[in-house]
Amino acid sequence: MAKSELCRGLEQGKVRITWMLDNEPMAGSQRRGAGGSEVSNLTLPQFNRTQARLWCWVEWNGTKQRVGVAEIRAGYPPAKPFNLSCILNLSDYALTCQWEPGADSHLPTSVALKFARSRALVETGCTPQGGHNRCTVPRQLLQLYRQMELWVSATNALGTAESEHLCIDPMDVAQLDPPALQSIQSIPFQSDCVTVAWEVARSHAHMELLCELRYRAPEDAAWALVTGIPGQARTAQHCGFLFGTPYRFQMRCRRSSAQGYWSDWSPGRNYTTHE
């Protein structure tokens, strides 16, 4: 039911209202309302749009005049966001989180990444821009080396939905820079063994790191993998290599205390074992 005040210039009582849904004429009824107003009454059968304008037209001096409009929006309560994951960028210690938004609700929906530090005070970490499904919590809001609770909250006119809550210590989801392989040398008198030396990024010098080495000869189908290498040792020995064979080596690391992310594999380095 839509009510619009009468406009000046309309002789009382001879107001003939017609209605249009965007550009489609609609049937409706009109009756006198309180205070000389005219009340329109329409029913929109199977409204199958998410957005439309119901226009109120009036005849005036032989012309049709738009005198009122009702904006109609139709949609659903917000879907529950899912697949929330976050990553800490060690160059600025900002936490970038991303998620799946779920089905479109067709309604203006405000989305925010919420978080609670230990004392359960709910704060807004960040709000996605330009329709992206990710945003970045600045360092100032983070509590490092301590569990934080993070979740996505989506709200529109029909309700609010929250994603699963993620309980993480931002440091546990730190994205490490790959180590840099410095040298690979055969071990004298044990030419099936090599010593690998590497450097870790200076900004990781304080971290306990767990690294993996992988190597492969050209004819090998898959990489061979050496796990459990302590990162800060900076060198490691490994045996079982064929003689006089060109191998390609790569290394990556992770914080040993966490289920965090592996760094990318380091740039490859080639080495041919001695005869």
Partner: protein, 177 residues
């Protein structure tokens, strides 16, 4: 010297030539905003909104001194200047209406202010009588009683400004060789 005599003045002709182009630029930007209002609110035809307009009290800046019948150059220049001031102010209502086009509206307000001061400085350079506009006689923004009235108000502010610019453009061209 009355303005008519100055029409041969080279500096004055350069001023007119530049500000004719400037006026064309502003008209183009106003037309762009009119297209946005049409696309966004389905308000495109003036003749469909005459009845509601009566309720809105949207001021139109007078330019009768610029019409050919009663053309009086100096008075026309000051009417153009005060009209630009009025529209620079009322464009704020359009900016509220179209937040995602705020930059274009702000550019329009800057251009209107520039054109007004270009005219003022040229008139001063020519040693003509100038009307100093009170610093901030911004007419209070019309208070719209509904979102729909605000949309129609925005429509008419742009439509009136476009007509105003058309008249101002013809006046400048009338003076240009």
């Amino acid at each position: 010297a009355p303005l008519a005599e100055l029409s041969g003045d080279q500096d004055f002709q350069l001023f007119l030539h530049k500000n004719l182009e400037f006026t064309r630029k502003i008209k183009g930007d106003v037309a762009a905003l009119q297209r946005v209002v049409c696309d966004t609110f389905q308000l495109c035809q003036e003749e469909e909104l005459l009845l509601v307009r009566q309720d809105l009290g949207i001021a139109q800046a007078p330019l009768e001194q610029c019409h050919s019948r009663s053309f009086h150059a100096e008075a026309c220049f000051s009417q153009i200047r005060s009209g630009l001031r009025v529209y620079q102010g009322s464009l704020a209502a359009v900016r509220e209406l179209l937040p995602s086009h705020a930059a274009l509206v702000e550019t329009l307000q800057l251009d209107a202010a520039n054109l007004s001061s270009n005219i003022q400085q040229q008139v001063e350079d020519l040693g003509l009588a100038t009307v100093t506009l009170p610093a901030e006689d911004r007419d209070p923004l019309p208070a719209f009683s509904s979102r729909f009235h605000h949309q129609v108000g925005g429509f008419f502010i742009l439509a009136n400004f476009q007509r105003f610019l058309e008249t101002a453009y013809r006046a400048l061209r009338h003076l240009a060789r």
